[in-house]
Amino acid sequence: MTSQKTPSTKTEKTASKQKLRGIIDYQTITSVSGPLLLVEGVEGVKYEELVEIFLPSGERRRGRVLEVNQDKALIQVFEGSAGIGIGQTRVRFLGKGITLGVSEELLGRVFDGLGRPRDGSPPLIPEEFRDINGLPINPYARSYPNEFIQTGISCIDGLNTLVRGQKLPLFSGSGLPHNRMAAQIVRQARILGAEEEFAVVFGAMGITFEEAQFFIDDFRRTGALERAVLFLNLADDPAIERIATPRVVFTAAEYLAFTKDYHVLVILTDITNYCEALREISAARKEIPGRRGYPGYLYTDLATIYERSGRIKGSEGSITLIPILTMPEDDKTHPIPDLTGYITEGQIILSRTLHHKNVSPPVDVLPSLSRLKDKGIGAGKTREDHADLFNQLYAAYARGKEAAELAVILGEAALTDIDKQFMGFAESFERRYVSQDEYEDRTISETLDLGWELLIMLPRAEMKRVRDENLVKYYDKAAAKFKKSEEKHAS
């Protein structure tokens, strides 16, 4: 490559570089492929550097250096490469990574997927600029999430308990009511005994205007909008911009949580669209594809996003993350849900079958899981019987479902009496425990009591997962109460 250091106007090629106030503009794009540009003859370019691209139309776009090899820089353009030509387009390297200006004024604002105002208000006056990639939390500095969040939804609170600082995704499918469930969580989430409410950082990636508006309206109605920051990259916004959105979201969340002591609830939707944008870049770079064309580093990429949630020693605030993803073909083993499940601390799975059965929210309880529940429940947090109760509910429901499957094949007559009881239990469980109105906010003791009320449909000897003292205190009591009300009915 010939050196193009000295600005001159002698030939067209050297004219392509203009020096403006110490900043060099390159006009040496040599190839455009998908969202990628290759710029040659560059100097001093750094990996991950922010780039501005000036189109002949006057339009300005942003990009990021994906790779730099001697005097060649490969650039990913957030707004896509349409309209970028070889020759007329200028490229400027800004000497820094992508940053977000942060201050408490973020709350109540709406931005685009790269953090530029979208609400018509002027840009905020930042307290500081932060690199959107953030830095990894030192595992030694973390403090373990163990404070129970009451969402008022039984199948979360009772069975898949959410705690402050957890990352718990909703695995859903297109057309399932995941947005309603997420909105209900935002509406109802509270810490028992604490006054303060969650600040919400909402990141939309490629969802429709309507879906975004649903959240905004709901936040507005409940007053959550004032303590919310929204970063919206909608379906008709540039796809590649989505790659930055979750990082922008977490930069805002980290600032609010760990600098300003807010308890932050982050909602990211839809992770599937994010992963598709990543796949597009990977394909354009001609990388060896991993499963289903997604890049081999998808796990690491998602982890560097999700792992930014949590709690930190010596900091009052926290980041709780609820990412939403629609599973392609409702397939849990698809790389997006699969890798997400490998990183997050559990998952809430929505099922189409239950949705058709009018169970709402249609949570598929058995494969759903909260891994952090164990330290967030029990005496002093929820109630002493909580652990035994959910273990027993799970075991009983699993057995009931198994019996129901058998009954489908062989008819109910083929079941033993005890299996029939389990099957009946499973039905009531779905109808009364899992199903719940969108606006019904159940306290944790209501949820727990409901569990016992259902378990007494089964013989005491089957309560193998329950300690003796809890059997006496809760099972027997619920059974006695039931008997009394039966007697009352009879008389």
Partner: protein, 594 residues
Amino acid sequence: MNRAEDVGRILKVSGPLVVAEGMGTSRMYDVVKVSEKRLIGEIIGLEGKRASIQVYEDTGGIGPGEPVYPTHDPLSVELGPGLVAAIYDGIQRPLSDIAARTGSFISRGVEIPALPRERRWNFVPQVKKGQKVTVGDILGTVSETVLIEHRIMVPPDLSGEIVEIKKGMFTVEDTVAVIKDKDGKKVNLTMMQRWPVRRPRPYKRKHAPYEILSTGQRVIDTFYPLCKGGTACVPGPFGSGKTVIQHQLAKWADAEVIIYVGCGERGNEMTDVLIEFPELADPKSGEPLMKRTVLIANTSNMPVAAREASVYTGITIAEYFRDMGYSVALMADSTSRWAEAMREISGRLEEMPGEEGYPAYLSARIAEFYERAGLVECLGSDDRRGALSVIGAVSPPGGDLSDPVVQATLRVVKVFWSLEANLAYARHFPAISWLRSYSLYTPSVAESVRETLGAKFLEDSKEAMRLLQEEDELAEIVRLIGIDALSPKERLIMEAARSIREDFLHQNAFHEIDTYASLDKQAKMLSAVLRYYREARKALDAGADLDDLIELPVREKIARTRYIPEGDRERIPKIEEEVVEAISSLKRKEEVTS
């Protein structure tokens, strides 16, 4: 400091891979410092003077033209007092010191020695002046924690005569002994050694493992035991319980030293260990478990190349304790993340990909790693033996066992604990499949188990397995035709198998008592479970009613033996007697009524 002509220049930056020219004086696997930020990297490819470097820190903001400083040393760990209870990143930087220096987030270019330099340790000599010593001989000891006596050994490749030996308080950099080697050269020895992580530490010879490494987990110890010096893998889909098993083993395995490598997994899981281990008591000594544990944490949000190094850092530290004559157990969670790190770097190097994009050398690397486990005769003139057991978690995509990492692992390890999603969904934990798992050590440990627990336990375990297999076949019939197709005897087998699963194999890691069961408690529990079956079967033959047998209230007591504390485990045989009594009184009753 480097001479100017040694300093290389960056040509290319692509994620964690940096290519530099002018690296002619460096060798393969040397550590280098990249750019003025002095990011730590390792040479993983050399072509003429051009080096491919994997960088252990984020490379954002680095570009061509920046310097690369060689160190001319391979990637190594520091070995000596101060290791126990420490938490390191993948290249042995102490995370606690990093937090103290740079706060809650890890910034780049931090250089902190792995072993504390200021701290003084009480060195108690074990050799005398004039004594001939050879590699591996113990020069002296330091009581590092109540549980670990740190044995200071003559480092590899050295032997000679002690010309000076000290006693008292020293730092790891102070000389504690001087040896005159065979060429008459005097060598000063400190309490610290360095060892390149990619090279296995030497030993005299290997032996076949034979002694059970008890884990307190019933399904493991009873059905699929691991040996001291053995290897095991735990593959399973997400949420099936790999990490909980690894944690349970780190807590309860009968090893003297635990090395826990969190490789590309969650930060909170390491925090969990950090909070819990100092609180939990070792069942043998009653001392906090942390006092025998070293943690390596390179979580999924930390740089991917350091993840690749973390398993080597871990196993080298483990070998070092093995060399002292300890029984060491290393857990790596998850080896899949290590393999993925290899794949990512390999992809950036544009190497020919093998299966699923993994490099062609994947299985060789995995085999080499597990080969570093074993029961060995340590170097040194005493005949001490050390054992290094390795348990690797594997996280295959979609839980699919045909994954190349699972397959490569299964070719080398001797124990396979297969985790199943369906068991996890039904909250049957540990979700280890009792039919699909295997342990090739079962015959090897039989003798030592027979000596401690008696032959009956071995018989019981065989019988329990037979019942479970029969259950599997019978369940198939039930699925096709219904329960009515079974004879009372067969239904009793189903009941007995259910009891084995629910009352014995199921074990709640989060229940303060159930979390651990000694081998003796396991034997007693299993005996009670099977006694019910044997007696009920006799009763059935004698004409007893099946439903009466199934509904016996005493069975609830069997189900609750798991909650009996270790100290009261003699109560279990009494429950077994109650079972016998209940069944025979049932028989008597029936004789009266008929």
